[in-house]
Symmetry: C2
Subunit: 270 residues, 2 copies
């Protein structure tokens, strides 16, 4: 998918909501555990109920890997279901990968070719030659961790290097990499005021913003500091939407939570 | 596996060799492609030919994920084969994972419980609460990226923060984390002289050292600067061993290359 197609979707749906599909078998409604593939059954119901309210879905690969081959199959079925029924929706493999050059190419093939995701999240620690193999894929997007939403973000990301925090070094340096136009960035919502500085470095890039809701981030603040002319934001909510109810009505309850956010977004865009 | 069991193996085999199982279907002998599971067939032959010469095997997960469910099955068969036939060998899932707390727990379950690896490599960018979930597993080991062997290591890892490089900050900070005795570190062999400084910070920890051979690192230099009283090193070689030949004799050729390294190690230890 091209960035312009994503922007068109945002305008059409008046939404920049991304729904995180972090499926934990201990948290989904009990009645689904009788299904052949409870993880996919849960995802399908959530997708069917929310696809008109969001522009992106983001399965976090950890939740699938934890169930081994069964989990990997559920991930494959989920992305295939999305690509077949909702090809206009932007898909994010939240995998936080990164390795030396030839190995990163294998990861890129796993997510861009084997699973046909539109994008993948990547960790920056190993630098340029660990990220450029992902950037080489046309119309695929690499979402680089810059400033994450967890407490540990302050361990290294915010440390000062030559009067500039490490996460800003990551932003600045990444702009010099080949095919850097295929970059987006992860920026946690729990530090909304940091977004003003971030926008000075990457004014045009899309930012994937986790941490609204369960982790305490505020939608209005994120938009105030982080929005650009094309919106330029994907606001992720996972637990706050998909676990709104763990009863028979879980999909409708998720849709209600998603709609609450979409209506706020509509008001902000217009 | 406990650290003492690993040290005993090193003494017994007079080896601190780790063999990287980075299986690329374009590089393995053509005759194996006729097998039901060429990846596992290749790994099994390499393991059968080399298990007496090494103390660890390290499949890099990228090479398995690139083949989707087939690849994940081959990874599962490989670790099961190792745990059943060679339980004394230390196993490393080279996965370079890392995510916020509850999600890192899912990754830890994937590699420590579902796949029963002894250890997993983890990226430090997201800090304490992204690593501690791995450290909570008893007799399992978390191998934290400190200084990697690729060119991109100089993009962020060697940048100075308060008179100390980022990778040294990672080492120092990680020592304060809960269950830090379960930490080991990745330190690239291409920067052997850095090991002297690293040993000042983590004198007793095991270091997993990639980059000997194909990437230009020198075994003697690594041992000179990095060895401690318990050896404290796992020297990894992947391509240099497993692709020594791509003909019918590939397993014997791999064993020959592994033996060359093991004999050098024996001489260094004694």
């Amino acid at each position: 998918m091209t960035t312009n197609q994503l922007i068109e979707q945002i305008q059409k749906k008046q939404s920049f909501l991304c729904i995180g599909l972090d499926v934990d078998l201990n948290k989904i409604p009990k009645h689904l555990l009788k299904e052949d593939d409870p993880i996919f059954a849960f995802n399908k119901a959530i997708i069917d109920a929310t696809h008109h309210l969001c522009v992106a879905y983001k399965p976090n690969t950890a939740f699938y890997e934890a169930y081994g081959i069964k989990g990997w199959k559920a991930l494959e079925k989920t992305i295939n279901y999305l690509n077949k029924n909702h090809p206009e929706i932007f898909t994010i493999a939240d995998a936080k990968r990164g390795d030396i050059g030839n190995t990163s190419t294998m990861y890129a093939k796993a997510f861009f070719e084997d699973l046909s995701f539109d994008s993948v999240t990547v960790a920056p620690y190993m630098g340029k030659d660990s990220v450029e193999p992902f950037l080489a894929f046309k119309n695929k997007h690499t979402i680089l961790l810059a400033l994450t939403s967890n407490a540990g973000a302050f361990d290294f990301q915010t440390k000062m290097v030559n009067d500039m925090e490490v996460y800003k070094q990551v932003l600045e340096t990444s702009k010099t990499w080949q095919n850097s136009e295929n970059l987006m960035y992860v920026v946690g919502a729990t530090k909304a005021e940091y977004l003003a500085d971030i926008r000075k470095i990457v004014p045009d890039s899309f930012l994937l913003v986790p941490g609204v809701g369960a982790q305490g981030g505020n939608l209005q603040d994120v938009c105030k500091y982080g929005m650009n002319d094309s919106v330029g934001l994907l606001i992720n909510s996972s637990r706050g939407i998909i676990y709104a109810s763990n009863d028979q009505d879980f999909a409708e309850a998720a849709a209600k939570k998603a709609e609450d956010l979409q209506l706020q977004m509509k008001q902000i865009i217009s």
